[in-house]
């Protein structure tokens, strides 16, 4: 098959991912020379125009980096600003933040499971085509997704770019009655979440494993979402304030996103599989039981099985939301005062796609002097490229259209949020 020993594969405008990207593969003499995941989302310069804004503005402004995970941006921004001002927010306000965040995990994970990822396993171009043959399945997914949106609408005011979040807490706390009504909906959602996990467990998972170091936040006693310290599978442990000492971002030529690696160690992976691997012990008994039932071991190193982890995390997030609803007392007032203070603040939370880090400098008048944001996708890019290199090497005998399709699927395993990374697929395979 000499005509295949040299080739270039190009995937243009990758579908069912958030944002725009492309993939270039260069094959020389029958082996993969380079794999480049190119991000061509135009830059929007958030870190630059945040300078000179008021310290109360980053939650609303940075939400606009990503319409799929605005709560993650709002929560990391609040954490960093509050850290700069020396204020700790806990108790009922922190619980309400965790509840809002559970809503985003449910919505974002279910969107990925049903609308973006499942069609690949079942051989459909989209969930809408899937619905023609299995309307009940897609309807269940949409209902479960809606439960996540219901949480965000009640607590945040709306599901995309919530209006109710502020530095220090919330503008208005929902009433106990409203929260109780939400509980009713989530009890239905819990069954849908369990059914979803059992459904995806029946998919066919290619035998593919990686050995990347995995990184997640951790918090003793519960599955880390809105706060925690950083740990890795390689044994590193550090506080969020030391994030930039350990995570080095580089600007690579083929992309408007930055690539991150761990200082002195190299590529790593953040996101659902990393969280599960590092924090499985802190899952609830029911979500750990469903993880065992769907066949997840003590770690998840098969990117295809990330769909199982997302489904387990949905079960967890629904259960956790129900627990927080049960214990809910409206915080009064719904926010703590955060007077400005000159300083530097650091914040990190577990966005649906992994650790999202923010750092702000604030001056004594409350104006932002510097801003730095490290989203999950730029942290994962080097690991994704490494997986793709091995993936393509095993499939070089496939015709271009099939290889392209399979590469797209491999990339979707990571649910790369391209808008976040600043940014999808245009696959070029250069085999000549």
């Amino acid at each position: 098959m000499t005509h295949r020993s040299d080739r270039t594969l190009d995937v243009r405008a990758l579908a069912r991912v958030e944002g725009e990207g492309a993939m270039h593969v260069r094959v020389r003499g029958g082996s993969v020379e380079t794999v480049r995941l190119e991000i061509y989302e135009p830059p929007r310069f958030f870190e630059a125009f945040l300078r000179g804004r008021r310290y109360t503005e980053p939650p609303d402004i940075t939400a606009r980096i990503c319409g799929i995970c605005p709560v993650a941006y709002q929560m990391s921004a609040c954490a960093a600003i509050e850290d700069a001002c020396g204020v700790v927010v806990d108790g009922a306000i922190a619980d309400l933040r965790r509840l809002l965040y559970c809503g985003e995990w449910i919505e974002s994970h279910v969107l990925h499971i049903y609308l973006l990822h499942a069609p690949d396993f079942l051989g459909y171009p989209s969930a809408i085509d899937l619905a023609r043959d299995h309307r009940d399945l897609v309807e269940r997914g949409l209902a479960l997704k809606k439960a996540g949106n219901d949480v965000m609408e009640l607590i945040g005011g709306r599901a995309i770019h919530p209006v109710n979040v502020r530095v220090g807490g919330f503008y208005r706390a929902p009433t106990r009655q409203d929260i109780r009504a939400l509980g009713e909906k989530l009890r239905v959602a819990l069954d849908q979440a369990l059914d979803t996990a059992r459904w995806v467990a029946g998919f066919d998972f290619p035998d593919f494993h990686h050995d990347h170091e995995m990184l997640a936040l951790t918090e003793p006693g519960r599955y880390a979402i809105e706060r925690g310290t950083v740990v890795t599978t390689g044994g590193l442990a550090f506080p969020v304030t030391a994030f930039e000492e350990h995570v080095i971002e580089e600007h690579v030529a083929h992309s408007t996103a930055l690539h991150a690696h761990l200082a002195g160690r190299g590529r790593y992976l953040t996101g659902p599989a990393a969280r599960y691997t590092l924090n499985r012990a802190w899952l609830s008994p029911l979500s750990r039981q469903i993880a065992d039932e769907v066949g997840l071991g003590v770690r998840c190193d098969n990117p295809y099985q990330s769909i199982l982890v997302r489904a387990v995390e949905v079960v967890y997030a629904v259960e956790e939301a129900l627990r927080l609803i049960e214990a809910y007392e409206p915080p009064a007032p719904p926010h703590v005062d955060v007077p400005p203070r000159a300083g530097m603040g650091f914040g990190a939370t577990e966005a649906p796609r992994g650790v999202l880090f923010h750092r702000y400098g604030v001056d004594a008048d409350g104006l932002i002097t510097s801003a730095r944001i490290v989203p999950p996708t730029s942290q994962n890019q080097a690991s994704i490229e490494d997986d793709l290199r091995r993936f393509v090497a095993d499939r070089l005998d496939l015709p271009d259209d099939q290889l392209t399709h399979q590469c797209e699927q491999a990339i979707r395993n990571y649910d790369p949020c391209i808008s976040c990374a600043t940014h999808f697929l245009d696959l070029t395979v250069d085999r000549s």
């Binding site: 579908a15 991912v17 958030e18 135009p42 310069f45 630059a48 319409g67 309307r135 208005r172 600007h251």
Partner: protein, 265 residues
């Protein structure tokens, strides 16, 4: 007759406005049953060739390639609707229009030369004819369904053009300016959200952009009366719809006054 084709396009944006369509969980399959989704990368890998009956365009123009791409999209579309503040006003990324983009580029990227970008972020209507503009950051799902439904039956979308203030009164909200002295952009902001922020005890921050006939001078006076400093009035007018003439006017009212006050007496 074949179902009309619907295409969704993305330019510089956060994906939030197209997500609004996927967030219409109760109506998504019904809409998908009435149209042929011909191009919607966030939802399907199947791409049908143009021309398209309706194109929904999200995002603003920030690169020379995108300025070309939007022309091709226009040529392929019978009706072109822009969705959201990025597409109708340039979005939050239009804050570069008031700054030095070279400085921005070198602040964010170690190798600014790798990143090609225009000095401005501009709305779609600055490049091609637009048939309907739907406002909001993000757009409202009910309004989006109204626009799609109207276009499918060939009537004009029924989208009110009054201010957020009007929606507050209809919803029975307490006015946050009168009751709490909270600064609010409601009087100059386009309706559509149902007065969401005042319903949450906060002032409107203008995410739906300017209403059709805003009174900038009166708005500035109101913001000042709540004790807002001039720098904050300027910041308030420069967020997600900073590129609209009405909000530029709002920020200028401040600068003109400031210039006047600072002039030697």
């Amino acid at each position: 007759m074949d179902a009309p084709t619907l295409a969704v396009w993305k330019f510089a944006s956060c994906d939030g406005c197209q997500l609004t369509l996927l967030d219409c969980e109760d109506d998504l399959l019904a809409v998908a049953g009435r149209v042929r989704i011909a191009h919607f990368l966030e939802a399907t890998r199947e791409v049908l060739p143009g021309p398209y009956d309706v194109s929904l365009v999200e995002g603003s123009i920030t690169t020379a390639e995108d300025a070309e791409r939007i022309r091709r999209v226009r040529e392929m579309s019978r009706t072109l609707v822009t969705i959201g503040a990025c597409a109708t006003a340039g979005g939050v990324q239009a804050l570069r229009n008031f700054a030095d983009v070279e400085e921005f580029r070198s602040l964010v990227y170690a190798h600014p030369e790798y990143v090609s970008t225009l000095a401005t972020s501009t709305p779609i209507a600055a490049h091609v004819d637009v048939d309907f503009e739907l406002r909001g950051c993000p757009i409202d799902g009910r309004q989006l369904l109204e626009v799609i439904t109207a276009l499918l039956v060939g009537r004009k979308p029924n989208i009110a053009s009054h201010s957020v203030c009007f929606e507050c009164k209809r919803r029975g909200n307490v006015c946050v300016v009168v009751a709490h002295g909270t600064p609010c952009l409601g009087p100059v902001t386009h309706a559509g959200c149902g007065a969401l922020c005042p319903a949450h005890n906060r002032g409107c921050y203008g995410c739906f952009g300017p209403m059709d006939t805003p009174n900038a001078a009166a708005q500035v006076a109101l913001l000042r009366a709540t004790g807002m400093a001039d720098g904050d009035v300027e910041r308030a007018s420069r967020t997600f719809n900073a590129g609209t003439p009405a909000f530029i006017e709002l920020s200028r009212v401040t600068t003109r006054r400031e210039a006047h006050r600072d002039a030697p007496l």
